[in-house]
Symmetry: C2
C-alpha cells in the first residue's frame, strides 16, 4: 500500500482520524505499524500528507494528520474503452486510476458481447473498489468518474462531440497509418477497442467526428497491456 | 488467437501439418473454421504465413501451409526482472513475449521473497506455456530465453557484465533524477525491481556496472503495468 486513503467519515477532528476494519487490519498486520510510526495518507478527493499513529487497538487505528500536499497532476486523458471481458475490467480500471486518468467511458461496440453489461463487476461498489485500489497504488486521492454507454449509436449521437471538444481524439487501431504519439499531447480522449478491435465503420465514425486513428504497429496486444502502453506514452515528463 | 503456432512435430511434409488436441479444438470450436478456411500460422522459431484447412475431423486438423514471412523484428531489449509474486509472473512473461522481448532474466533481490523461487509457475513447462501464449498474441514465432538468478551477488559477479556489453543499461527506479526514454534506444537491458523497488545499494551496484537509473516520475505502478509502460516506451516506430 503506497497510500492509506481516508474518507471524510473517518475524520473525528480536522487533523485527526479513526480508521476501522480492513484498513486498520492492513496497517496493523501488513505494515506492522504502531504508536509513533508515520504513514503516507490522503483524504479522498482532498489533500495528501503524513499521519502519525497515536493509538492502535483491536478495532481502531487513531491517526494525527498533517495533510499539506495537493494530489498529483491528473493525466489529462479521458479513456473511452470498449467494455472488456469482465475478468479484465477490474485490473484495467485499477491501472488507469493508478496512472491518473480521471474519466473512463465504457462503451458498447459491435465486438463487445452484450452479456458483459450484466456482470456484477459493473456494480458501482465493485467499480469503486477497483478505482480506490488504483488511487492507493498511484498515490492519488481524486476519484475518477466512470460512465457506461452500452449503445454505440447513442454514444455517438449524445456524448461523442462533447468528449472531443478542446481535446485531441486518438483512436487506437492496428491498421492506422499514423504512429501513436510518443509524448504528452495535452488534453486528449483515447479510444481503445475490444479484443479484435473496432470495426472499420466504427473507426470511420470516430474519425468523422474529429478523432485521429493511430497505431502502435504490427504486434497486437491484449487490451489491458495496450491501455498501459498507450497511457504510458502520453504521460507527462516529471520535474526531478 | 492471432496466430496458430505449429511445432516441427506437427509437420508431416514440408508444406503440410497435422494438428491435434487443444489447438485442433480451438480452431474447430472457437474459430469455427472448416475445410477451405484460411488461418494465420507460424512455425515455432521459423517462418509465418497462411494455412488452408484441408481436412478436419474429431481428432485431427490437416493444414496446407504457405510460410513465406519472416517473424517480426525482435524488441532489442533484454528484461532483467526481480522475480515477482508468482501470481503475476505468468502475465508478465506473456506480455513481454507479446511485445517481442527475447531474453528475460529473473533475479533475486533483497525484497524478493525466497519462497517465490519454489513456485510451480517457474517450471520449464509452465514458463513455456506463458511464452507461447505471448507469441500467439504478438504474432511472433521466436521463443524467448528465460534465465533464473536467485542470488543477486552471484548475478553481479557472473552475469551482469555480459548483459551490459554493447547495450544501454536502464534501471527503473522511482527516485532517479533522469526521465525514462521516450523512444527506441537500440540494444538495451532493462532492470525492473520488485514491489517496493530495488534497494539503494542494489541500484548503486547496477550503476557502478554502467547502467543508468531512470524514472517514470512520481506515481508508483504495479510491476506488471510498469513493464508494459517501459517496454512500450522503447518500442521502435513501425513503417506504415
Amino acid at each position: 500500500m503506497n497510500l492509506l486513503l481516508l474518507f471524510s467519515e473517518d475524520l473525528v477532528a480536522p487533523n485527526e482520524a479513526i480508521v476501522r476494519g480492513d484498513r486498520r487490519d492492513h496497517v496493523a498486520r501488513v505494515l506492522r505499524a504502531g504508536p509513533g510510526d508515520r504513514l503516507r495518507v490522503g483524504l479522498l478527493d482532498g489533500m495528501l500528507g503524513q499521519a502519525t499513529v497515536t493509538a492502535l487497538d483491536d478495532s481502531c487505528l487513531r491517526l494525527a494528520l498533517e495533510l499539506r500536499e495537493a494530489p498529483p497532476e491528473p493525466l489529462p486523458v479521458h479513456l473511452v474503452l470498449a467494455l472488456p471481458r469482465p475478468k479484465f475490467l477490474g485490473r484495467i480500471l485499477q491501472g488507469s486510476a493508478a496512472m491518473g486518468v480521471k474519466r473512463i467511458v465504457l462503451l458498447g461496440t459491435s465486438r463487445v458481447e452484450r452479456s458483459y453489461w450484466q456482470s456484477s463487476i459493473l456494480d458501482a461498489e465493485a467499480v469503486g473498489r477497483q478505482l480506490l485500489l488504483g488511487l492507493e497504488q498511484g498515490r492519488d486521492t481524486v476519484l475518477p468518474v466512470v460512465e457506461s454507454w452500452p449503445a454505440f449509436r447513442r454514444f455517438v449521437a449524445e456524448r461523442l462531440e462533447d468528449l472531443l471538444a478542446q481535446r485531441l481524439g486518438l483512436v487506437a487501431h492496428g491498421d492506422a497509418p499514423t504512429p501513436f504519439p510518443r509524448g504528452p499531447v495535452g488534453p486528449a480522449t483515447l479510444f481503445v477497442g475490444p479484443e479484435g478491435g473496432f470495426l472499420d465503420d466504427e473507426v470511420a465514425t470516430l474519425r468523422d467526428a474529429g478523432a485521429l486513428p493511430v497505431s502502435l504497429g504490427g504486434r497486437p496486444l491484449r487490451v489491458e497491456q495496450a491501455v498501459s502502453v498507450l497511457l504510458g506514452r502520453l504521460m507527462p515528463d516529471f520535474s526531478p
